[in-house]
């Protein structure tokens, strides 16, 4: 006997009514994509659960991968047997003796299939009694057991599962629409992207690149971050905006203190064009209130004025340290701290206005007409797409490695 499948429990999406189907279908698609190279496994789904039939594959590496899939509340390794007492006993014994560091246990039976003759309570006693008399060193503890063995008797069979392993939670990526992530290369924006994905958002990223003021490596860093994000979102498009010309114009025409404010406004205008073209309905940024000059209440107010697209700011109320923690946990941190300047830091004035006003900024912008340059910039956008299963580099170097 061995664990033959992984049971996946849905998170919040299980509360959905009519459109649950749509959520389940998306989750199914995402799990499949995650496990694309496991040829032997089968994935089955219904309204309440998803099952990965292992067909001889090792469960552990599959579990590890699925921990990155949003929409999964928890997993358990499971054994499926027929609705037949002897088989259930054997499976429960297997689950108990294969749980690590376990001395006490509890059996919780749920009889979903009421045609099964023995009720849940009686079944707990039957199965508990069986393992107690066939094993040594285990005790029952109904209040605080080391492991709780769940026995679910359903129409299609009985599922025996032991420890619950936590999933990533959230909603399946692709169920709540698309957002355009302003990806700079710092610590914050990838975390913001990750968190919005957690709420089911599919991300496309936009990055402003100003060669030669910013280096190829700064761009590469952003591409690496985007690539890393595919772990959670499967596919990511990155729109690389040639921003040098606009930035030079801003630097030349706008008083230094307002340069940063205007730059951000222009970025949003460019982003809005991309969003319009791609049918994207919102922006996501890594702004955290009060962190830097562009993220004060006044700055947000002044910058936000140029667009009426909703801006999702998952980090708005987080401390830097909390953001760093997430960044490390999702393996972004090491990439984020590579020391290359991005366009936000190269042209930053020594003393940017922390309290810009809408009146002032409009007054300065009146003197410059950005329309043509914005159009030209948008036309020059280069788009790269990453898919989790094969990234460009792996192809590029695969003959060497």
């Amino acid at each position: 006997m061995h664990y033959d499948h992984i049971l996946i429990r849905y998170g919040e999406m299980s509360l959905k009514g009519k459109n649950l189907k749509h959520f389940v279908a998306k989750l199914y698609e995402n799990v499949r994509a995650k496990l694309h190279d496991y040829e032997n496994i089968k994935i089955k789904r219904n309204r309440n659960r998803m099952y990965i039939l292992l067909n001889g594959e090792e469960p552990q590496p599959i579990l590890e991968r699925c921990k990155d899939v949003f929409g999964i509340q928890s997993f358990s390794l499971a054994i499926k047997v027929e609705n037949e007492e002897e088989q259930m006993k054997k499976a429960v014994q297997y689950a108990l003796t294969h749980a690590k560091n376990t001395k006490t246990f509890k059996i919780s039976t749920r009889r979903v299939d009421k045609d099964f003759p023995i009720d849940s309570q009686a079944m707990n006693r039957v199965l508990g009694g069986h393992v107690l008399s066939n094993t040594e060193g285990y005790k029952v503890d109904v209040h605080d057991p080391d492991v709780e063995i769940n026995v679910e008797i359903r129409k299609d069979g009985t599922y025996i599962t032991s420890e619950k392993i936590l999933g990533a939670g959230g909603l399946p990526v692709g169920t709540t629409g698309k957002s355009l992530l302003l990806l700079s290369g710092g610590i914050d924006s990838p975390v913001a992207g990750y968190l919005s994905m957690k709420r089911g958002v599919e991300i496309e990223a936009i990055h402003f690149h100003s060669p030669p003021y910013t280096s190829e490596r700064a761009k590469q860093k952003v591409l690496d971050l985007a690539k890393q994000l595919t772990r959670y979102g499967h596919k990511i498009k990155v729109h690389i905006v040639p921003f040098t010309k606009l930035q030079q114009t801003i630097h030349r025409e706008i008083p230094e203190g307002y340069g940063m404010t205007v730059m951000r406004r222009v970025m949003l205008q460019v982003s809005e064009r991309v969003a319009e073209e791609r049918g994207i309905l919102s922006f996501t940024t890594g702004e955290s209130l009060g962190q830097v000059a562009s993220q004060t209440m006044e700055s947000m107010n002044t910058i936000n004025e140029v667009t009426n697209y909703p801006i999702i700011r998952p980090l708005v109320s987080m401390d830097k340290l909390e953001i760093i923690d997430i960044s490390k946990r999702i393996d972004m941190y090491d990439i984020s701290i590579r020391p290359f300047e991005d366009c936000c830091t190269v042209f930053v004035p020594s003393a940017p206005k922390t309290r810009p006003t809408r009146e002032k900024v409009l007054q300065y912008e009146e003197r410059v007409d950005f329309t043509d340059e914005i159009a030209e910039t948008v036309a020059g956008i280069e788009t790269v797409e990453f898919e989790e299963k094969h990234t460009q580099e792996e192809d590029e170097f695969s003959d060497l490695l």
Binding site: E216, Q220, E393, F397, D399, L401
Partner: protein
Amino acid sequence: MIYFDNSATTKPYPEVLKSFQQVSERYYGNPSSIHAFGSEAERLLQQSKKQASQLLGVQSDEIVFTSGGTEGNNLAVKGIALQHQNRGKHIITTSVEHPSVLEACRSLESLGFEVTYLSVNEHGRVSVEDVQKAIRENTILISVMHVNNELGTIQPIEEIAMVARQYPKLYFHVDHVQGLGKTGLDLSLIDLCTMSSHKIHGLKGTGILYVKRNTSLFPLLHGGSQEASYRAGTENLPGIVAMVKAIRMTKENQKNNMQHLKELHHYLREKISEIDEVVMNTPSESAPHIVNFSVPGYKPEVVIHALGEEGIFISTKSACSSKHADESAVLTACGHSHERSSAGLRVSITYDNTKEEGARFIHVLRNVLTELKEVMG
């Protein structure tokens, strides 16, 4: 030629040499240079690290590229000792470790550290109980090799890891130089692990030290911030790429040709044991590539030279300790007599050695021993 000295070093895979040459020609930029050419080298470095981490089942920031096994062992032992001496100054190791661990420990003794050298049984195996008993309040490091380089004995690493785990203050280092590609090892159980490229058909001068996340080390080499400051110095990118490729190819061999290796090993061990003059030193449960035996009364050098004349290359004790006295420290540690310990010979094979080579070796060995018997026996 029959090359049966694969625990000393191995023949590089042709594909590995090709990668080495290509990287040397095309990606000679310094990964730390900020221009695009350096950037390309850096990406290749990162990709190599990523692939190495996937092959070894660890995170890519847990891979530190080194110059080989000796450096890896020194960095692990001295690096932990110097960095964490405030917690305690006691180290536990075994009497059959590679000299790069033993001598590193001895050097620390001269700096005021205390080292417990655990003895082993007749098979060269350390007991988990002894390890447990040796742990003290001030123990900061346990260093035990996975596969013994002279005998092929496999140490109970997982069990020791379970013991070590109960003492969060101490680190557990494993010298995996002989085990890589031959026997499995779950790196998640240990804190530091040494690997070397030229033992798995890569090139000399490259190795990996696995360093578990959040483990700080006092570097042996200070300088630039390469390898997350664990090891300064411009990266040996061609060697690194070659090593990662060698790991991949060796792991493939391990997956597909293990049965062949085991059969050849079993054959050699059986046939050698059948020779009257021979005492077998390698235990029946051992790594699948080393057979160590003694021919008491026969000078091992003479046997080696006689085999060499027939184009067969094996070795006495490990190449690293061969320069010292005529006795094998490992065999002595197993409690064997001087006569047996000073007559040890080691055959070490790899995946592409053939059954025919094995048979010819046995034939020649028998002849050589018969001829020498007249003089020495």
